[in-house]
């Protein structure tokens, strides 16, 4: 059966991505032959892929999807794909800096990025940003301004400023505006003070006030120096942006009865329960600041660490990025996801970017100190938890928090306790529909229990 282009890969006349027998390929069209040749022959591809900035590829000898095909390449597979609206602030910041750094490298050899959207960057299993659109490079004409400047400002700078100046969750706004947040909308949402800060004043407020139209009638000649000035200004401004403020979970262990012995006992129990099992990949649902993700990654597991609290995820993302720069690589991919409302399928025909739960598959789902939040905080029945977790992974390690637990009581403090069904017996009965119990273990010092389930 002939392959068809990936549903999200229709914009670029230079080529497109397609899947064949589960392998991702990229078709390079004849019209892009010259620019592709420059990317490879100038040494730019080798430089960028050598630094880990640009995805590596190999030539593939399979036919393309249509007669425009000139060449087929097979990029290194990255799984799972996460989208910018699932990233934390520092991840989007890292992706923005990467895009600008690549543009500067490209300009050195007479090439330039024709696209600068955050959707051209993904994070690999070690949480490092990689530029994936090999066909984004075109011949650079120094007398012209940067064709991707507007896209960069709407796709990167606007959400970063909204996150830094308003709220880190505004990065999620990119799901509503995957083509970039309109500058006028961004300008109206930013605080007044940003009109007097050069980064936002020059690249957001000024262009948001300018009427697009015919443009200058006389051709204004641009230069490499001028573009360097713009890129350096964006790069240094973005690198110094900060998204500060307390997170929901950041002092979770320190300020509660859960400090000290409990955490150590739980870590020991988790390690022992997973020992000897053939579990390589883990979805840490409700990862907080990544205590357990770090523990399991240190044992050689690949962890996707998901939490609803953007600041906690950001703390983890910053930590692993810092460690990477010091030479320690952790297999952790942090993401911001609300499990009660995971990102849906978006784009044309609902088929450009698949829903979150259709992208995430791991050997184990880890749900520590989560059940009471979902059941008592959000009224979610155990049966629904069981059904969804069983969709993600064949193994489930879940902590049951009884109703008399101080943390469960905290959730019930301001609401009527109608949760008569919330007990361990019903919990086990609901999960036994999709799973069989492999092992259980109490946590020393607290009346909580860890259950290791295996899907039926």
């Amino acid at each position: 059966m002939p392959s068809t282009p990936h549903p999200a890969s229709y914009r670029d006349p230079a080529g497109h991505v397609f899947l064949q027998d589960g392998v991702v390929y990229r078709q390079v069209n004849r019209s892009y032959q010259e620019d592709f040749g420059k990317l490879m022959d100038s040494g730019l591809y080798a430089t960028l892929s050598g630094k880990g900035w640009l995805i590596e590829h190999e030539d593939a000898s399979i036919p393309g999807t249509d007669d425009r095909a000139w060449k087929i390449i097979r990029p290194r597979r990255i799984d799972p794909i996460t989208y910018p609206y699932e990233w934390s602030f520092s991840q989007l910041q890292e992706a923005a800096c990467l895009t600008l750094d690549i543009q500067k490298e490209a300009m050195k050899v007479g090439l330039s990025l024709k696209d600068a959207t955050p959707f051209n960057v993904i994070f690999d299993k070690q949480g490092a940003a990689i530029f994936i659109d090999t066909l984004s490079f075109e011949t650079y004409h120094p007398e012209d301004p940067w064709v991707a400047y507007h896209q960069f400002c709407t796709g990167f700078l606007a959400p970063l400023l909204l996150a830094a100046k308003r709220d880190p969750d505004l990065i999620r706004f990119l799901a509503l505006h995957p083509e970039g947040i309109p500058l006028e909308r961004c300008a109206s949402l930013l605080p007044r003070s940003t009109r007097f800060q050069t980064l936002s004043a020059l690249h957001i407020h000024l262009p948001s006030k300018m009427k697009p139209g015919k443009g200058p009638t006389k051709k204004i000649v641009f230069s490499k120096d001028k573009l360097h000035r713009i890129i350096d200004h964006l790069r240094s401004g973005i690198a110094t942006l900060k998204c500060e403020g307390p997170s929901t979970w950041s002092d979770y262990y320190e300020e509660t009865i859960l400090g000290g012995g409990y955490l150590e006992a739980k870590k020991k129990a988790v390690t022992e329960l997973l020992a000897g099992k053939s579990i390589d990949t883990i979805f840490d649902a409700g990862s907080n600041t990544g205590e357990f993700s770090m523990l399991l990654a240190a044992e050689g597991k690949r962890v996707i660490a998901a939490d609803v609290d953007a600041r906690s995820v950001d703390q983890l993302a910053r930590k692993i990025s810092l460690e990477r720069s010091q030479g320690t690589v952790r297999s952790i991919l942090p993401i911001v996801v609300d499990l009660m409302n995971p990102p849906p399928a978006i784009g044309w025909g609902n088929s450009e970017r698949p829903a979150f739960l259709d992208r995430i598959r791991t050997d184990l789902t880890l749900a520590l100190a989560l059940v009471h939040h979902l059941a008592l905080g959000r009224n979610l029945p155990f049966s629904k938890m069981s059904e969804t977790f069983a969709r993600i992974s064949p193994w489930l390690l879940i902590e049951f928090v009884p109703k008399h637990d101080p943390k469960a009581q905290e959730l019930l403090k301001h609401r009527k306790d109608g949760f008569t069904e919330y007990n361990e017996t019903n919990f086990l009965a609901a999960f036994s529909e999709h799973y069989e119990l492999a092992e259980r273990r109490g946590i020393q010092g607290l009346d909580r229990t860890l259950f290791l389930f295996r899907r039926k």
């Binding site: 301004p145 507007h150 896209q151 006028e184 909308r185 009427k211 443009g215 641009f222 000035r229 200004h233």
Partner: protein, 49 residues
């Protein structure tokens, strides 16, 4: 009210913006160079004294 220009390529408007931004940043750069030159001129004078 938001003005949304559905039929205008947003990239084309960005050309003029970049010209203005580059000119502003250039002016700021030369201003800084000037200020630093004046500063260093007086500092040098001080040292010589």
């Amino acid at each position: 009210m938001h003005r949304i220009y559905l039929y205008v390529d947003p990239g084309s408007g960005s050309y003029l913006v970049q010209v203005i931004v580059a000119a502003t940043l250039g002016a700021a750069f030369y201003f800084k160079v000037g200020v630093n030159w004046v500063k260093s001129f007086f500092q040098r004078k001080k040292k010589e004294d």
